[in-house]
């Protein structure tokens, strides 16, 4: 078993375990912290695929910024067990059916996908390096990239404008 394999299995097991813990944890703050671990392990997978830029952006944006906001909101909530509303029984059943249907669709989609022959390029892929990614973004996808950047800029300006009121 090579180092890459070992790391792959380690990260995968940790990711799936943490993902389960996100759902199972009673305390929302614990859920968020487990979710952060999920993001970090997924970033680890990006490294194994030599996608350094994706690794760090995933870490900055998801684990670093979005999860902080999640944590922020959850910390401000009243987390007493008494104030927790009693869940409707039908709601639970609906949740199980919805989740099960999603699982079914995913399994069906993956079953037909040709995953056997398209192994991830562990350690050898070049597409995730920042140079190649920049080339792709600014040559092949300039227009969508620029439009989305303008969208983000306007969102930021909007936030400042709202803050100014």
């Amino acid at each position: 078993m090579s180092t890459t394999h070992f790391l792959f299995w380690f990260l995968s097991v940790l990711a799936i375990f943490s993902a389960i813990m996100v759902v199972v944890s009673k305390n929302p703050v614990h859920s968020v912290l487990w979710l952060i671990i999920v993001f970090i392990t997924i970033s680890g997978h990006y490294i194994l695929m030599n996608a350094q830029f994706l690794f760090i952006v995933n870490l900055i944006v998801y684990a670093g910024a979005i999860m902080v906001l999640f944590l922020y909101v959850i910390m401000l909530m009243d987390l007493n067990a008494d104030s927790e509303p009693q869940k409707n029984k039908w709601l639970k059943i609906a949740g199980v059916i919805g989740g099960g249907a999603l699982l079914l669709v995913l399994v069906a989609a993956l079953k037909d996908a040709d995953i056997k022959n398209q192994l991830a390029q562990t350690g050898s892929g070049q597409i995730g390096l920042i140079h190649n990614l920049g080339m792709a973004l600014f040559n092949d996808y300039v227009v969508p990239f620029e439009i989305s950047s303008i969208l983000f800029l306007s969102a930021m300006v909007g936030a400042v404008v709202i803050g100014k009121k």
């Binding site: 090579s2 070992f6 350094q52 922020y72 910390m75 562990t122």
Partner: protein, 357 residues
């Protein structure tokens, strides 16, 4: 790609391990003496003499402080979340130390028949790596503040988190202009571009200013130490902490200060470049090892100047009010950084066009 598990290039592994050990212990020692410098400079600025009893000129004061922290009783509050309470300071320390991995401390030594890079990892996303680790640094504050189960700590944690997120944005934007000039995210490449030429601070004075302000905010230093504002929040997020857990939080701040000084020196002030000396010629004349040592020393002096600046500012400028802090970040620094980016891009285009419109 098919190397067997545990077949590792031991030479590189040992080299890197030694380097990591040296750099980690170096940053700890520097952080220790930063506390001494902080107290001494604070004293001088206030016309006092500062710590002067432990050893000559009080040189052993940090050791005495550390010993005191170790001897203190360790208290974990009853209603706190015990595991997270312990993990918080550890995270703060971990993220503070991890940033040092991508900073090039000098060029390379020539020893044992091989060139040894004095940098733990020369990744081509160096600057982004620093941002990533810094953004992880919030969790030390947030988890510690929440797990303490104390309203003041929680408020401080929330303040700290929103402050760090806000200033990270301006920090990133201020660097983009510089990255357009350098064309690389690797810190070593950025330093090599500045060798024997103009430092980037002359091309990007506004970018440097914004970065500097943001670095203060990211390190939770006065004037931006809102998350530990004693007069409003008792002691901030580490109010419930005692003994070495408190020590870790306080220490992490000083390690952060050291590393961010090193990053600023690297990006804007030529890193390990020796000013007014042609490094390549000097290396050819006097040997690579002497050059590397002097370069490391040069970086260290730059870092020390920055640390002095950090301390100097702390004992000059009073703390911002919270709305002033947010105004400065969102309405002051971010538009300025965007403007800086636009102007820089414009000039670069103009230059590519041989100064014709």
């Amino acid at each position: 790609m098919h190397e067997m598990f545990l077949i590792i290039d031991w030479a590189i592994a040992i080299e890197k391990l030694v380097l990591i050990a040296v750099i980690v212990s170096l940053s700890l020692v520097v952080a220790m003496y930063e506390t001494y410098a902080e107290r001494k400079i604070a004293a001088f600025i206030q016309d006092r003499r500062g710590p002067s009893r432990a050893g000559p000129f009080g040189i052993l004061q940090p050791l005495a402080d550390g010993l005191k922290l170790f001897m203190k009783e360790e208290i974990v509050p009853n209603l706190s979340n015990k595991f997270l309470f312990v993990i918080g300071p550890g995270l703060a320390m971990l993220t503070a130390m991890m940033t040092s991995a991508v900073v090039p401390w000098s060029s390379h030594l020539h020893a044992f028949g091989r060139d040894i890079d004095l940098q733990i990892a020369d990744v081509n996303i160096g600057i982004l790596y620093i941002f990533g680790v810094v953004s992880m640094g919030v969790y030390g504050v947030m988890i510690g503040g929440w797990a303490s189960n104390n309203k003041f700590s929680l408020l401080a944690a929330i303040r700290g988190a929103s402050q760090i997120i806000s200033y990270e944005l301006a920090m990133g934007l201020s660097l983009i202009a510089l990255l357009m000039l350098s064309g690389s995210l690797s810190l070593r490449t950025i330093v090599e571009q500045q060798q024997d030429g103009w430092y980037y601070v002359f091309y990007q004075p506004l970018g440097f200013l914004i970065f500097l302000v943001c670095a203060f905010a990211e390190c939770n230093r006065t004037p931006f130490d809102l998350s530990e504002a004693e007069s409003e929040l008792n002691f901030g997020y580490h109010q419930e902490y005692s003994s070495m857990k408190l020590g870790f939080y306080l220490f992490a701040e000083y390690v952060n200060m050291f590393i961010s000084s090193a990053v600023m020196a690297t990006i804007f002030f030529g890193g390990y470049d020796i000013p007014f000396v042609n490094d390549a010629n000097f290396g050819a004349q006097h040997g690579q090892n002497l050059l590397a040592t002097l370069q490391g020393l040069s970086l260290f002096i730059k870092v020390v100047i920055f640390i002095f600046f950090f301390i100097w500012v702390r004992w000059t400028i009073p703390r911002f009010r919270y709305d002033q802090l947010m105004n400065l970040g969102w309405k002051g620094l971010i538009p300025l950084a965007l403007l800086n980016m636009l102007v820089t891009g414009f000039v670069i285009l103009l230059k590519q066009n041989n100064w014709h419109f």
